[in-house]
């Protein structure tokens, strides 16, 4: 009776989770949907607490309270700019929980001699994927938080070494299925998983981290699926599958937006260097600088302005200045829109969150596909700290390493003002034809100060 009740509670929780993901399709319904998901989680947890297999509550209360105390600051105090690291960190947490459950269940099955082949394969997968996600996420966290060097760390024969280690891990897994009671094999799988996690993320540069973080999301989901198979628990399978699908879709979207194939991101620490050297030619001409006063006048008397924020905006912490400028322009009846490239931030959708935090309403934030044809109507395109995502070479220059990358059609605007820190190249090291185009004027300096100056001048115009 109680078991049926618990299963029904899980069923309703799963339904609420799916509905929550559906509600995330629109910003108007998203918040309510997630609150329902939180309710679903509460139902599932309360139902589990009456499970008759649970005999003592002391330890579990300790765990719940400790987790709550850690979770609260992780939820409320982390700044939005630190979102990527925060997510990577909690992937490590989630995967650690899955791994520990896997180890615990293996021990349990070992003592009671109830390890079947089916259960062992699930536990093996769980521990392997879980362990790999724990160390991989911690590495990603370290790189994003700049505790570790962001540059790729490589050594000769790295891919071969990683792949053979991976093959050894799989071999151990197969062997474990044949003889479920050999503990050393289980330990070996755990250890290999931990090492692969480190090796996998080590050669990937800081700029590619969004793909990695999404991919680890997917692995954490698959680890949860394996837990579900091992414990005959359907809700874990459902949630793990949702999680896995989400991570997979996001990492595909991110690699596409960065013009890199999946395999290229994972194994490509060598490829990027080759791309850089051949990219030095291209862009001929001089960048034309502009004074803040002139730039402000051009903005103030424009009818349509499209603002293109890049990661440089977030680095300079200038989200509030850009909103102030947008508000001033709107008071003058200028139509202001924001064009957001998929990789404008450090993780999928990051820039949208940063701008929303500054108080810019979401109906002014446009995705690349929705705004690209509007650039030709724009009087001024204001590019703030973005480089590669507005480089027309991605369309025109076949030899460019970023050729084929989807870009914002900034070059179609009637005039362009680029806010840039200095005359250097972007992180991919590619020259940008846009910056030397006759339609373009450059406003050099720190984005935050430049924007504040612009706002000041617009006020007086």
């Amino acid at each position: 009776m109680i078991t049926t009740g618990i299963q029904l509670a899980y069923l309703s929780a799963a339904a609420l989770f799916v509905m929550a993901l559906r509600s995330l399709g629109q910003p108007t319904t998203a918040r309510r949907g997630m609150q329902m998901a939180a309710f679903g989680m509460l139902v599932a947890v309360c139902a589990t607490l009456v499970d008759q297999r649970i005999l003592s509550y002391e330890w579990l209360t300790v765990g719940l309270i400790a987790g709550g105390l850690i979770g609260y600051p992780l939820g409320m105090w982390v700044p939005m700019t630190a979102m990527p690291q925060r997510i990577a960190f909690s992937h490590a947490f989630g995967a650690l929980a899955a791994t520990l459950v896997g180890v615990g269940e293996y021990l349990h099955g070992f003592d009671e001699e109830t390890l079947t082949h089916g259960k062992t394969i699930a536990l093996g997968f769980e521990v392997f994927l879980g362990a790999l996600t724990v160390t991989g996420s911690l590495m990603a966290f370290g790189k994003l938080q700049e505790l570790l060097p962001g540059a790729p760390i490589t050594f000769r024969g790295q891919n071969l070494f990683n792949l053979s280690l991976f093959a050894v891990g799989l071999a151990c897994l197969v062997w474990l299925i044949v003889s479920p009671y050999s503990v050393p094999l289980f330990v070996a799988i755990l250890a290999i998983g931990l090492v692969i996690g480190i090796l996998m993320v080590m050669p990937i540069g800081g700029a590619d981290m969004p793909v990695v973080v999404s991919l680890l999301n997917s692995y954490a989901g698959l680890a949860a699926v394996a837990t579900g198979f091992a414990l005959d628990n359907n809700i874990l399978i459902v949630v793990g599958a949702l999680d896995g699908a989400s991570g997979f879709i996001l990492s595909m979207a991110m690699s596409k937006a960065m013009n890199r194939s999946f395999t290229n991101v994972l194994f490509g620490a060598f490829g990027t260097e080759a791309g850089m050297s051949e990219a030095s030619q291209g862009a001929v001409g001089e960048m034309v600088a502009i004074e803040p006063e002139d730039a402000a006048l051009r903005l103030a008397f424009a009818r349509r302005v499209i603002i293109v924020p890049g990661y440089g905006l977030a680095v300079a912490q200038a989200q509030h200045q850009v909103r102030e400028l947008a508000d001033l322009l709107e008071k003058r009846d200028v139509d202001v829109r924001f064009a957001i490239h998929p990789v404008a931030g450090r993780m999928p959708g990051h820039m949208n969150v940063l701008l929303a935090e500054a108080g810019i309403s979401y109906d002014k934030l446009f995705d690349m596909e929705d705004i690209n044809e509007r650039f030709s109507d724009a009087d001024v395109a204001l590019v703030i700290g973005a480089n590669d995502v507005v480089n027309p070479a991605a369309r025109t220059n076949r030899s460019s390493p970023i050729y084929g990358m989807p870009i914002l059609n900034v070059q179609d605007a009637k005039s362009i003002i680029v806010l840039k820190r200095g005359r250097g190249k972007g992180f991919s090291g590619v020259e940008n034809d846009l910056f030397v185009s006759p339609k373009t004027n450059m406003l050099f300096g720190d984005a935050k100060q430049s924007l504040a100056q612009l706002a000041n001048e617009v006020k007086q115009a």
Binding site: F17, V18, A20, R22, L24, P27, T28, A30, R31, M34, Q35, A37, M41, T48, L49, D51, I54, W59, L60, G63, G67, G68, I70, G71, L74, G75, M83, I87, F93, G94, L96, A97, A98, L100, V101, G104, H108, G118, G221, A224, T227, G228, F229, L231, N233, N234, I237, V238, V239, A241, L242, D243, S246, L250, E330, M347, G349, S361, Y362, D367
Partner: protein
């Protein structure tokens, strides 16, 4: 292969399909909240951790289970809080602004 395992495979397949269909419809605007949300929801491994921590299978299992409960709870609590914090920031254009545009 047992029949439960087959049913579980069906569940996995269907859930994966539903996930794929639902998530491809989420606009890039909300991708960061989506990641935070899946993170929070994946804290569902809490239910497995709770059983492990509470079944008295010996000290090691209990300790592992308790740590797992802690990690999963941190994800659930932190994940839902931060998702809500983010989604609360996504506001439609303010009413006054709309009126001033119309007039």
């Amino acid at each position: 292969m047992t029949s439960t395992a087959v049913i579980q495979l069906f569940v996995f397949l269907l859930a994966g399909f539903v996930g794929f269909q639902t998530i491809t419809r989420i606009p890039p605007l909300l991708h960061t909240p989506l990641m935070a949300a899946t993170n929070a929801i994946s804290g569902i491994s809490l239910v497995a951790s709770l059983v492990l921590a509470g079944t008295n299978q010996g000290l090691l299992s209990t300790v592992l289970g308790t740590i797992a409960v802690g990690c999963a709870t941190a994800n659930v609590v932190g994940g839902f809080l931060i998702t809500d914090r983010m989604l609360a920031m996504f506001k439609p254009q303010r009413l006054e602004a709309k009126e001033s545009l119309n007039s």
